[in-house]
Amino acid sequence: MCSHHTERIEAAGSAKGPAGWFPLRLASVYFDHPQHTLADHTLNIDFLNPELGPSTRVAVELTERSARSLAAAILAALDATAPGPAAVPDPR
């Protein structure tokens, strides 16, 4: 199948691509055909800044097991030490 399902979030922070660091604006998350991984479907994340063009992108393709582990690890790390999203405003 071709899911076409895409979750999008406004993302604040930075990512490092082939041309160096860039400020993030957007992340797309979808479970669909990968470009590189030898699997029918992977959980794909595109970290983007459309203002800087389509090539300003950091892409990852994760197996479902890896993606679920990553999601749990992100929440575990935040729950352990982060002060909460209201404590610090997002940089722009």
Binding site: M1, C2, S3, H4, H5, T6, R8, L26, S28, Y30, D32, H33, Q35, L38, A39, D40, D46, L48, P50, G53, P54, S55, R57, A59
Partner: protein
């Protein structure tokens, strides 16, 4: 440059063609050797983009005596970007709008018909999202043959809440302008065998010329030689059916 496909020398070049509303877009053009006359085939790439594997498909058509053109449907969002970056940009923007797709296929078909080597006949084939787009183009444009390879969301709508702009287009079936070949995988869920059966009934109800084939042991993307979804037996039989379909419906006589 020249390349070899299916045992024949073919010429390839990247060209610019007028697309929807006269926009200039990039396209990959492949031609058989000789002066023709040749039928034309518009090849519509899958959601992952205007990639090497789809260019190889276009070259295979040229190797079998067709002038084939592969419009870069992601050109506007990402001119000059790599196919994967372009696909990501288009996905983030909600996909290729249907009206723009029809305009781009119309531009590609007109370009093919304008070539001195043309026999006047033009077919369209698409894969994955391009399968749906091939059906859409064949319903909205005067074409001579069409092939839908596992296009989803022709009959069923995408789930609610998706940014995807594609809507069902089965309601256009009465306007299908040419014979349609559909090649699907029994293990696919978009489109599912139930969905393609409903499309088949709708085409039959309108008295359209069409032929559908669903391959056991194959799912979505069975033509994709660079992906684990590739199913050699289904793809080999599919190629035979595609070339037979175009041979039957795109000859000048």
């Amino acid at each position: 440059m020249s390349d070899t496909a299916a045992g024949h020398d073919v010429a390839t070049e990247t060209v610019r063609i007028p697309g929807h509303q006269g926009d200039e877009i990039e396209a990959y053009l492949t031609r058989p050797p000789g002066s023709g006359p040749f039928a034309g085939v518009v090849v519509l790439h899958h959601l992952p983009g205007y990639d090497e594997a789809t260019k190889q498909i276009a070259r295979t058509f040229a190797g079998h005596g067709y002038t084939a053109i592969l419009p870069n449907l992601h050109w506007r969002e990402a001119p000059g970007a790599s196919p994967d970056d372009a696909a990501a940009a288009v996905r983030a923007a909600g996909g290729v709008p249907d009206d723009r797709l029809v305009g781009d296929v119309d531009g590609a078909a007109r370009f093919l018909r304008s070539l001195p080597s043309a026999n006047g006949k033009v077919g369209v084939i698409g894969y994955c999202s391009g399968g749906r787009q091939a059906f859409l183009a064949a319903c909205r444009l005067p074409l001579d043959a069409a092939v839908d390879c596992y296009g989803g969301f022709v009959v069923d709508a995408p789930p609610d809440g998706l940014p995807l702009k594609a809507r069902p287009i089965v309601g256009l079936a009465a306007d299908l302008s040419c014979p349609l070949l559909g090649l699907f995988g029994a293990e696919d869920s978009r489109p599912s065998p139930d969905e393609t059966a409903r499309l088949s009934r709708e085409l039959a109800r309108h008295g359209k010329t069409f032929q559908f084939h669903t391959y056991e042991g194959a799912g979505h993307g069975f033509f994709a030689v660079d992906r684990p979804s590739y199913r050699p037996e289904a793809a080999a039989d599919g190629w035979t059916r595609v070339l037979g379909w175009f041979g039957r419906h795109l000859s000048a006589q």
